[in-house]
Amino acid sequence: MSALDLRLVDFTYPGAPSPALSQCTLCAEAGAVTWLTGALGSGTSTALLVAAGLAPRHTGGLRAGQVRTLGVDPADPSSARDLGGRVALVLPSPVSQLSGIAETVAQEVAFAPANLGWAAGRIHDGVARALDILGISHLADRDPATLSGGEMQRTVLAATLVLAPELWLLDEPASALDAGGRALLHRLLRAEAERGSAVVVASEDADGLAGVADRLVVFDAGRPVLEGSPDAVLRGDPVWEAGAGSTTIAALARAAQVSAPRPLTVEEGVAQWTR
């Protein structure tokens, strides 16, 4: 069984003239990092919301087709309890994900475990470990409302990591992270996949994710149109024809009329242009 299994899913937001997902079939497996990319509006963010059940439960709208998240339909209210703490959704704006009631960063990270009824000792150890991994132990006693954007993003990631979810759903999780934070996030995604979690990340950061993801799925007009190893997909033309993009060096090579397969990294670029 795939950790995430969408079959021929359509989804239309309330009042929207056209569907955000159209005949979308997508699987993600445990133990792997699955990377979704595509032009703005291609449907990657909506696929994550549907996988988490927030669409349509919170957004409203119409869904058709079959969705199985860890084996159950996430839009079914009775399955929400079953998925609690096992599926984690990380949205691009961290400010919208803080509880708003925790007085410190440590309390924020302890919030979900406490709701799940964990023992105090387990919460304490889990929170300390998550803060350490995200490099924010020094912020433990800070009021979350006073954090910078990047610090909030690290806090949201720590609050997710503490749960050791079976399925990670992340939408542009690095948007406010500094270079160190990005490297840390990429190590975290790899480590979570090695631990056996299914990691699904929607991102436009091809330079960052090319060496991190096991599989790349390119969306266009509400469904996957191309998939494979990032290395193979990013070198070719179809990823551009789908309206998505590749690494910075591949983009330069394309602009400089180098035909596919194109270089992806600086190292390969140097080899390309000094031959």
Binding site: L40, E151, A176, Q257, G269
Partner: protein, 270 residues
Amino acid sequence: MDAVTPLVLDGVRFGYGAEPVLDGVSLRLEAGEGVALLGANGAGKTTLTRLAMALRHPQQGSVSTCGRDTARRKPEDLADVTGYLFQHPEAQLFAQTVRGEVAFGPERLRWAAGRVAMAVAAVLDELGLAPHADKHPYDLPTPTRRLVALAAALVASPTLLILDEPTAGLDRNSRVRVARAVTARRRAGTAVLAVTHDFGFAVEVLDRAVVLDRARITHDMGLTDLLGRLPEFPAPPLLELARRLGIEKVRASLDALAPVLTSHPETGTL
């Protein structure tokens, strides 16, 4: 454009509690300058931009935005000369349509209706937002909403443009549009102060780096002199490639580098 200096911070101290977030910070931006405000998460970058916009006021020292001391001013007192893209633009949008959102600033400045319509159409087109003009901003995905907020910041050609993470979450095509739009404003004399962790974008459209660390400015230098010289500021791919190929006099942007690399069509080599 007026002859006023777009931004002057002089000996600024500010904190939300006892600890200062900024301490003894002085900074001056001239017309047309492009400055990247850099530093680790929590270094005080966003706070500095809030001071420049009179959203916060210094506890010591002074801030002058487009020649106006911010001390007794509110953000709306600067709205005619500044554009500000928030880090979380969902806090910034309120109109019923994208067009209405972008038109709000010029209408508030009492521009004639025709001039508003022309300026709004031009900036929506520039940022690839024309197809969304009549949609509700909240029906758009987060990165597109960010573009709407940017359009609103650009539409009245401000003297000072402040951008907080302008490229976060954008796809490649949108990123190229944003880079071109900001570059065009700089050429027209707008001073740009951008908080960004996207060093590739920074090196494409900006020239000067100001680094904040623990409440103080630790570096103020040429952007390309900084990037790749310190571990926390790695050179973005195009700059590193240009250096390795010995063509670092060319700006590290797709638009500037591609023609240089295409000039040897047989092999694609230099």
